[in-house]
């Protein structure tokens, strides 16, 4: 890695004692000696193991659940269903007043995606829990399911989630989050070229080497300690407190080093049911996702569809950009309404465009609920935007890098979501890339700056 200190030297104070120094990491010696404690390194006498019975169907009504055989299985201590969960219908963002509550801790009457948790089995060993889980009998009436976002948004599509009433998240702005800036139709009308293209991604898994999980132990004083690899301690504690209808003062969460997160460990999935299990059995409980659960059950990065329509002039200026973004939330909200909204603020990308129209939708389908991942709300949008930029440059016969210089945002420029650009550095990154990659651009672009006089 090379630090190019010559850029922005005038606005930076170097020569600090500790900041900017490549100090060794204080946690690494623990890693190389195997001493670092991860949540699963805690083992308590008498610890029970939790295994989930999961839905084999994408969408189904539950007619009945019979746990009697599972309960008789040797080593089984307790079997939990929706009835055992004090506040079974929840949504994590309710903490910041983003509802409605739309997801069940354990399925109640209905499942909405293949893999949804239905019954929790607690046993002395993992093996006994696994074997007993296979003995739980659930009678399902299979319902029509919808898997693609276009289909979900069509009239008459199967309703994925009754708590929403329609297959999209209803923002205060309506069926989508909107950004309106300038007059996009007027921009298209005067453009030399129009290009409309559609981009699509598939769900992506965080795939941390350490799977999601927690270990809970009753402290004997009505308090429960939860060792967890959540990315957000109080967020998880407060949600657990709501779901369990238990004062937060009874809960003690301990994290530590997490074996990779990438956004996959911000959902509140394992902790509430594990704490409830510890409470109802009086014993320590471990609930750790198998690798298969991590890959297919834990929330992935959402699939997205992005449609971009641009109006561009022969001289390289983009004069209008209209973006419609669709985020596939799967069956439940989790963080997706926020991800779609974050996308709305991110478009039209790091470019100054006078006329912008953005609609972003959060769509429900019968698949694994998606949630946050590294680059949440932005990563797939950037793929779409930057491939579109390449196409536009070629359309008007311009070098793709030079085309970006023409449109790059600079200090003081007004963004579509009505914030003035501050601290821009796109131009300098491109200048340095031009040098490093030996991709020459015209001298006037190399002379540009993100600074603007008076900005």
């Amino acid at each position: 890695m090379e630090l190019r200190k010559d850029y922005f030297a005038d606005v930076r104070k170097d020569g600090l004692h500790e900041i900017g120094q490549p100090r060794p990491r204080l946690d690494s010696p623990g890693h190389v000696t195997g001493k670092t404690a991860y949540f699963a390194d805690r083992n308590f006498p008498g610890m029970l193991h939790l295994k989930m019975v999961r839905s084999p169907h994408h969408h189904a009504r539950i007619r009945s659940i019979d746990t009697s055989e599972a309960e008789k299985h040797p080593g089984v201590v307790r079997v939990l269903t929706a009835r055992d969960v004090p506040h079974n219908v929840y949504t994590i963002l309710i903490l910041i007043q983003v509802g409605p509550e739309d997801e069940t801790v354990l399925a109640d009457g209905k499942v909405r995606w293949k893999g949804e948790a239905v019954v929790a089995v607690l046993a002395e060993t993992e093996r006994a829990a696994q074997e007993a889980a296979a003995k739980v009998k659930v009678d399902y009436e299979v319902l029509p399911a919808v898997f693609d976002m276009e289909g979900a948004l069509k009239p008459g599509a199967p309703l994925v989630n009754e708590y929403h009433g329609q297959n999209y998240y209803h923002y205060d702005s309506g069926e989508c989050r909107k950004v309106r800036f300038g007059d996009v139709e007027a921009g298209f009308a005067r453009a030399d070229h129009i290009l409309e293209q559609s981009y699509q991604s598939s769900p992506i898994e965080h795939a941390p080497t350490e799977t999601t999980g927690c270990v809970v132990t009753p402290e004997g004083n009505d308090r429960f300690t939860c060792y967890t690899n959540t990315q957000a301690m109080f967020f998880t504690l407060d949600n657990a407190s709501i779901i369990l209808q238990m004062p937060g003062s009874k809960l003690h969460f301990v994290g530590g080093t997490v074996g990779g997160g990438f956004g996959g460990k911000v959902d509140v999935i394992v902790e509430p049911i594990a704490i409830l299990s510890a409470k109802l059995t009086g014993r320590p409980v471990s609930f750790i996702y198998s690798r298969e659960e991590e890959m297919q059950i834990s929330s992935p990065r959402a699939a997205e569809k992005v449609v971009i329509k641009d109006g561009v002039m022969k001289d390289g200026r983009i004069v209008a950009r209209k973006v419609t973004g669709y985020t596939d939330a799967g069956a439940y909200s989790r963080h997706s309404p926020y991800g779609a909204q974050k996308g709305a603020a991110h478009y039209p990308g790091p470019y100054t465009i006078p006329n912008v129209w953005i609609d972003t939708y959060c769509v429900y389908t019968n698949r694994t609920p998606s949630s946050a991942m590294r680059g949440f709300g932005v990563t797939i949008g950037d793929f779409a935007l930057e491939v579109q930029m390449d196409k536009l440059a070629r359309l008007i016969g311009m070098d793709p890098l030079e085309f970006r210089f023409i449109n790059a945002y600079r200090d003081g420029d007004m963004k579509a979501h009505r914030q003035r650009t501050e601290g821009a550095a796109l131009i300098e990154c491109m200048q340095e890339a031009s040098r490093a990659a030996n991709w020459p651009v015209a001298e006037k672009y190399m002379a540009m700056s993100s600074y603007r006089k008076g900005a």
């Binding site: 190019r4 910041i96 301690m233 504690l237 990438f262 300098e428 990154c429």
Partner: protein, 334 residues
């Protein structure tokens, strides 16, 4: 049938933090009797090195070496509230909270030192090595070890501080979408070079040159870790990763590391990283969040390079050999 080369570019920016519900993080700092400093937080270290960075930020602010700072975090019985580690907010939000707490503690420390040295606190400075000196008269000094002892056992002062950093909630305006979704922005530009085998559809990323602008490299080696790992993940996203390869079909998803594809140690692109620092107005020492954006620009850069190589656009991720072959076939047919 041939191996064809191409290169592509992409440029991006990335917001630090989130605006959804207000974005607070707290920190507490106190000194031990012998002048070590304990930072108490509830932020989570995911492996990115949050603890180390908070230690360096606290050390710089108080004026002691980093190894005199201890980080106690991710325990809700001891640590004050933090929203969590996501949205590239850890360094920025917790870092600001630590600075505020450390400044308050530093002020008490200087006051105690001033009493010991019989000077004004405003005339004192730290040397970064564990001593407090009178400005312009460095021979007149006292060690932080002695200051802490004095505070505890003689003067009854608590060398401690509280830090709270809050970005208030921004409500998007319904019709225009006016909102403040984040604070500062990081930037990047990536040039990718690929080889595409037009017979098999296989893509090899030969090299990526990444330029990242991250505000301030608080610890350059740790920044490098993030950026190298992120660049790898970006390439992985571009070419391999998905839990539902035939989305929206739900079948065929990988359930383990044999089926869920990622580049292994034998499949690495030559990776060059260049870092620029334009300090942000509100970041700790100007830092922005580099951890997420570093995995974004490679994806379109690779997609554009594939087009440059074989003349077909793959607008659906991941860019698999199957998709490339189908596109080449369609191109040949038309």
């Amino acid at each position: 049938m041939a191996i064809r080369r191409g290169r592509g570019v992409a440029a991006i920016n990335y917001p630090t933090g989130m605006n959804l519900g207000g974005d607070p993080t707290q920190a507490l700092v106190h000194s031990t009797p012998t002048g070590n400093f304990m930072v108490t937080l509830s932020s989570v270290d995911l492996g990115q090195g949050m603890k180390q960075i908070m230690a360096q930020i606290c050390a710089e602010t108080i004026g002691v070496p980093t190894d005199r700072v201890i980080i106690d975090t991710a325990d809700t019985d001891t640590g004050p509230h933090c929203m969590g580690t996501f949205a590239s907010r850890g360094t920025h939000r917790a870092g600001n909270a630590v600075i505020q707490a450390a400044k308050e503690a530093r002020q008490v420390m200087l006051e105690v030192a001033a009493e010991e040295l019989e000077v004004n606190a405003s005339d004192l400075e730290t040397d970064g090595e564990g001593n407090i000196k009178v400005k312009g008269a460095p021979q007149k000094s006292i060690s932080i070890f002695d200051v802490a002892l004095s505070a505890h056992f003689k003067r009854g002062r608590s060398i401690s501080g509280r830090g709270m950093f809050l970005i208030p909630r921004s409500y998007p305006e319904k019709e225009t979408g006016a909102m403040k979704p984040s604070t500062c922005y990081a930037h990047a530009c990536t040039v990718a070079e690929v080889e595409v085998d037009d017979e098999t559809g296989e893509v090899t990323v030969l090299a990526v040159k990444n330029v990242f602008e991250i505000g301030r490299a608080l610890n350059p080696k740790m920044v490098e870790q993030q950026l190298v790992g992120g660049s790898w993940m970006g390439i992985s996203h571009a070419l391999y990763e998905t839990t539902e390869p035939y989305y929206p079909n739900r079948d065929h998803g990988g359930t383990d590391f044999n089926q869920y594809l990622m580049p292994g140690p034998g499949d690495l692109a030559k990776t060059e990283i260049i870092v620029l620092e334009r300090p942000s107005a509100d970041g700790p020492f100007g830092a922005k969040g580099p951890g997420e954006m570093c995995a974004n620009p490679q994806i379109p850069a690779v997609a554009n390079a594939v087009f440059d190589a074989v003349g077909v656009r793959i607008d659906t991720l991941p860019i698999t050999p199957e998709r490339i072959l189908r596109a080449l076939r369609a191109q040949a047919a038309s």
